[in-house]
Symmetry: C2
Subunit: 319 residues, 2 copies
């Protein structure tokens, strides 16, 4: 199977997709931006051993590779439009490609985003996706809009992906069914695209939680030049994580990584609107803290006592 | 040096670039498409040993990684606007990153294209760039517009990059100065962006020559459902390649790869306009054949005799 056969067999689909003038098959794709909309762009690269384990099923990997990119569009409240895929593969393995493309396109179809171009080459497994989406001019959610007094929210639940990773690392063990559940959280994250769009005009800032809540909320605090306090024991988590020892539970929730939830802020006057956005998008949302003028992040326990913390966000160039 | 320090130190530059509402630093970049323009997108991934050798200087690699992507915009006649960079690196090497980013930004500045987002991670060296450009609605040059009777043209000269590769492979040797010249062709290709834009409304089809002339002209023939004949000895080449044995010269020119020239077609009535586009863009262009209704590609020698050919275009999944 050669490069062009591979592309044709696994990645070329029907034309005639919304806004796509020309998809795969030329030097460039040709897209028609919707008048009045701004264009949002993000890129994520996935490397074996850093972003996924060799044990992941190809179908789940195809899902995850797109999901982590859609999560960036979600954080900005964008409507997904198109993506490109650059793929380095050790070899052209039809079985692997069948699974990978199945998982990829299932998620793409669920979000109405079209694969419009790409590149395939031989090399150590590497998946690089660039997503493009749209939002009305000036309406994109940014990290820079949080204001003192705003509430801090997070969607879904945190920490299961990290818990699964700890099982793979051998540092803890879980019963089979519980492991399957947290493994699915790690391998099949659901990007909060509908919530992000529903929060346009409601949230004052947003980011996706990919490197851990502390790190990603930290980006909001830095870009907004504010601080925050969080009520640590309000962090939403699954029943599986809730049953773990407190220290592990907090570590996973605060600094777990790979959550792909949204952390966002909104003025107290928007509480009903936030609730409405959560219902409209069928996404659980919980208020976990507030933005303050004083720089830094303060973690409070259930009694309102400040916790000292050494949690650090995931960094690809630190061990 | 952590991931965010690395990005800040080597890849974040001033904001306020044309059309860029928000660059690096949020979950997505925010871009403002020009009203009435279509958006052109292309992705290329570069892997060590496939697209470049470990001997390449980082500055040249930074140049080449963007150049091969700009070449796709050139082939469509697009005006470059923005790009994203996803980079997997074995380690955060400041010296390497200094050279790489210098070469990358020198070429970006020369073409007025802005780095708006990206991703860095640890892993086997891999460079994945997505470029975005604009062209007036319906004006992009495509592979599908060639018509019987059209002339076939190619820009610049072909085959030097392949000749350099043969030196690295040890199959031929060249005097130092000649090697330096063909090595520069391989490592520092100049994308024909100005020519591509000048050919809007003039050329009937275009493609960039990245996998070898036969392969890339073959894409035009396939997408346009036509054939062509080429006068092989008209192929433009450097004095270094011209001095090589005929068989090697033809192999390099017809199936060399890594040329990043444009192959394009235009009606005979456009000959003066093609010449004008060449002059306007200060890019040599030569007519090398014609499009015919009969499928297939016929190679003719200087006496008009048909050459049998076994040249094959580069394929990343064939040896």
């Amino acid at each position: 199977m050669g490069e062009f056969d591979l592309i044709k067999r696994f990645f070329v689909r029907e034309q005639g997709q919304t806004g796509v003038v020309l998809g795969i098959g030329d030097d460039c794709a040709v897209l028609a931006p919707t008048p009045g909309m701004q264009w949002l762009v993000s890129t994520d690269m996935l490397v074996e051993g850093r972003h996924f384990l060799s044990t992941v099923a190809p179908e789940r990997l195809g899902h995850k590779a797109l999901a982590v990119n859609l999560s960036d569009l979600a954080a900005c409240g964008a409507t997904p439009r198109a993506f490109t895929l650059a793929l380095a593969l050790p070899r052209a393995d039809a079985s692997w490609l069948t699974g990978f493309s199945k998982g990829l396109f299932a998620l793409a179809d669920a979000h109405g985003i079209h694969l419009v171009g790409g590149d395939t080459t031989q090399g150590p497994l590497n998946i690089s996706i660039t997503v493009m989406g749209e939002a009305p001019a000036g309406a994109a959610l940014l990290r820079s809009g949080a204001k003192p007094g705003d509430d801090v929210y997070v969607s879904g639940s945190l920490g299961d992906a990290r818990l699964a990773l700890e099982v793979f690392r051998g540092s803890i063990s879980l019963p089979g069914e519980q492991f399957a559940q947290v493994r699915a959280a790690m391998e099949c994250p659901q990007p909060r695209v509908a919530l992000g769009q529903a929060l346009r005009g409601v949230a004052s800032s947003a980011a996706d939680v990919s490197d851990g809540l502390i790190g990603d909320l930290g980006h909001i605090l830095q870009r907004s030049a504010v601080g925050a306090s969080l009520e640590v024991d309000l962090l939403p988590c699954s029943a599986v994580l809730a049953a773990q020892p407190l220290a592990l539970k907090r570590e996973c929730g605060l600094a777990g990584g790979d959550d792909y939830e949204l952390v966002f802020t909104a003025a107290p006057a928007q509480r009903a609107a936030v609730q409405g956005a959560a219902e409209q998008s069928a996404t659980p949302v919980i208020r976990i803290g507030r933005i303050e003028a004083a720089a830094g992040l303060r973690l409070l326990d259930a009694e309102g006592q400040v916790l000292s913390h050494q949690f650090s966000s995931f960094d690809h160039f630190k061990s």
